[in-house]
Amino acid sequence: MIAKCEECDADITVPDDAIVGEIVQCKECSSEYEVVSIGDGKVELKPAEVAEEDWGE
């Protein structure tokens, strides 16, 4: 599945086994996106959240 990078307009290839909530990265500009929905061979992305102070393990 292919989506467009909002930052640099490059094609982002999203793997077929991707699931909603997963993060994908633009190979051209390294921008990160979260998979919002998948269906009918189409994928919708939104910019990924930036790490918060309390993120971790």
Binding site: I19, V20, G21, E22, I23, E34, V35, A48, E49, E52, E53, D54, W55, G56, E57
Partner: protein, 284 residues
């Protein structure tokens, strides 16, 4: 059995946990914690999450709040909120480990910038400063002398967040340029790896570029790891250990353990072992 995996970011770890739960014959649901809301004061909740919830949110506060809410409505969550409370705050973690007799670096806490210099003097330089909450080696610094400490304090005081105006100061432990990550599921040590610090980096977090090498733990290490895991309340944990000249020292126990780095070096299917533990615990 139904296992719900609560997340706020899907990583390889969550995908492999969901896959292993499915392979084990469980009904599995991945739930985005960011989409949930609750009537917190209700006596019961109609929301049903399954027989057991595996808490995998990377936001500490979201994870803690969600676990508390779910437990309040009678849901069994791994790890429990008690474990999350202890492991999510480095001060509480250090106190609990020390009290249980687990070797851990000597740690001071100063409750304002006014007390930092005295705490530092009592501890002795070099000093490691860590945020109370946080991970991946972020904002961890070494003060080798009072001048450096003053600069760090000045910077922290400029951050408009009250928790930044209290200080966690710890002995700098001389060790090889690596530490140990032991992944524990219940009473079983699932994997042990060295985390080898990246070039020009003293921190050994995989998030900081550390590479991992698998090894077989000796008896002493096994005992200390399991003692540390037990001290914080048990469950699925990542116990971080340093090799000091005086023996093993546990500096942290992680509550929502990441295992991408450990899995890269280990033959054991870590996610499978974790799911086996979840199923065993939920049946009890």
């Amino acid at each position: 059995m139904k296992i719900a995996i609560v997340f706020d970011r899907i990583r390889g770890e969550e995908k492999s946990l969901a896959l292993e739960a499915k392979h084990a014959g469980c009904t599995t649901e991945l739930i985005d914690g960011r989409t949930l809301f609750f009537e917190a004061t209700a006596k019961r909740s109609k929301q049903r999450f399954g027989d057991v919830v595996l808490q995998r949110c990377i936001s500490y506060y979201r994870s803690l709040f969600l676990t508390r809410i779910m437990e309040n409505f009678g849901t069994y969550v791994i790890n429990t909120s008690k474990v999350s409370d202890i492991c999510g705050n480095k001060l509480i973690g250090s106190m609990v480990l020390a009290k249980a007799g687990v070797p851990t670096p000597r740690t001071y806490v100063a409750l304002s910038s006014e007390a930092v210099d005295q705490a530092a003097e009592a501890l002795g330089y070099p000093i490691v400063l860590k945020p109370f909450v946080g991970s991946w080696g972020r904002m961890i610094s070494i003060a080798k002398d009072a001048q450096t400490l003053d600069t760090i304090v000045e910077l922290k005081e400029s951050i408009p967040n009250p928790i930044e105006h209290m200080y966690y100061l710890q002995d700098f432990v001389e060790r090889p340029p690596r530490d140990i990550r032991a992944i524990v599921a219940g009473d079983e040590i699932v994997a042990t790896v060295y985390r080898n610090a990246a070039a020009n980096e003293w921190r050994t977090n995989v998030a900081r570029g550390a590479t991992t090498t698998s090894f077989t733990p000796d008896k002493e290490l096994k005992e200390i790891v399991l003692k540390a895991a037990h001290a914080v309340g048990g469950g699925i944990l990542g116990v971080d250990v340093m090799e000091s000249s005086d023996g093993y020292v546990v500096h942290e126990v992680n509550n929502t353990v990441e295992f991408k780095g450990a899995q890269a070096a280990s033959k054991t299917k870590i996610a499978k072992k974790m799911i086996e533990y979840v199923i065993r615990s939920a049946k009890r």
